[in-house]
Amino acid sequence: MTITVGAAGLYAARGGETVAGPFNFTLAGGEALVVIGANGAGKSTLLRTLAGLLPPGGGSVRIEGAIGPGGEPAERLAEVAHYVGHRNAMKPGLTVAANLSFWRRFLGGRSAGLKHTLPEDESAAIAAALEAVGLPGVASLPFGYLSAGQQRRASLARLLVAPRPVWLLDEPTGALDAASQERLAGIFGRHRDEGGIIIAATHQPLGLDNAGELVVERQRPPAEGFLTEAEVEAAEAWL
């Protein structure tokens, strides 16, 4: 059964104020959506809304056909999605392996709806994931010792140690060099081949073939002191 992620009339809102929308899209397994838009347009807000970190300003997010870590059909997208934000969510004091092992345990090692290519064993899975992001041999180093680009890649290895069908990526290639971006494009391609879905906000080409595009434009805030047509109509009706 393939997975479907959809948004219907979804508004991204921050602090009770609608930032962008409405968004309507449907993605099936293997498809990708690239969210583009100017700085401050609301790309991150949209991704955080999809991840369930922010309440939507309206509309809804649908997830169908995915099995959550508890073995029951997932009802919220967050249950089956990886969210990668601007920050790496790794502890600088712990080793890379300890960080990844924690996330593997916390996020659940298995998630149905995907073909698995990773080893069952934890340390082997971590080694394979680090190998895939091009950082073999850093597992025993503290995360804080790595450079900015290496830290980003190590945190992206989280996507691989805990398989989840939907990836919500916010600027995943920031601080990465060209070779790493290419490697990442390969990882994205494999994830889609396995039936996964990728929703990524980015300014750079991610190497996602046949990806849909969603352009985010910031809503103009209503000019102060002027009545909108709807308000005028309402006032006239009252008179």
Binding site: G15, A51, L54, P69, R87, N88, K91, P92, L107
Partner: protein, 219 residues
Amino acid sequence: MKAVFLRDLKLSLAGGGGAASGVIFFLAVVATIPFGIGPDLNLLSRIGPAILWIGALLSALLTLDRLFQADRDDGTLDILTTGSLPLPLVVLAKCLAHWCAASLPLVLAAPLLGLFLALSPTAIGAVAVTLLAGTPAITFIGAVGAAVAVALPRGGLLVSVLVLPMAIPVLIFGVSATYGAVNDPDPFLPPFLILCALTLFFSVLGPIAAAAALRASAD
């Protein structure tokens, strides 16, 4: 939940400062009191349990403001919030880890510091037992304050001010149970049981309230 607990315990023990700074502050508070009060042993042993409790309360509050701050700063909190484990249970695990790393050393240090204050063996035992039963409540109350102030860059003082009024009942019943054990006509068990009830009550309310505050501050 176990993974969160173990990771937090490891972080606060390895990160340095967590357990040690609380105990050192506790030591500083308790060691200064006799100098201020003077060498009146009877007075010291009479107010000793209260001083130990106040010292433990303040030291416990000292380390609480960092409970969610580090996780928020590096983005971990985002993923903990959206994970499959309900957020109140994440908060509960973090509170337990924080209690083990920061408050349990205070409980263990209390008998030694009790000697500084000329406490009788009964009083020392009573202080240790009441602290053991009461400090989890302080951690759970403090978690709410830490969650409310998590978005503020320097929320430390705010957390203490927010939390202190709610921690007063814990202090009152902790100290009165200790006096109950020492002074003959006063009862020990009723205030001690109320203290345990406070801990149980806040162990439920604290994580739920802190989780709600964390969700509201996610932006």
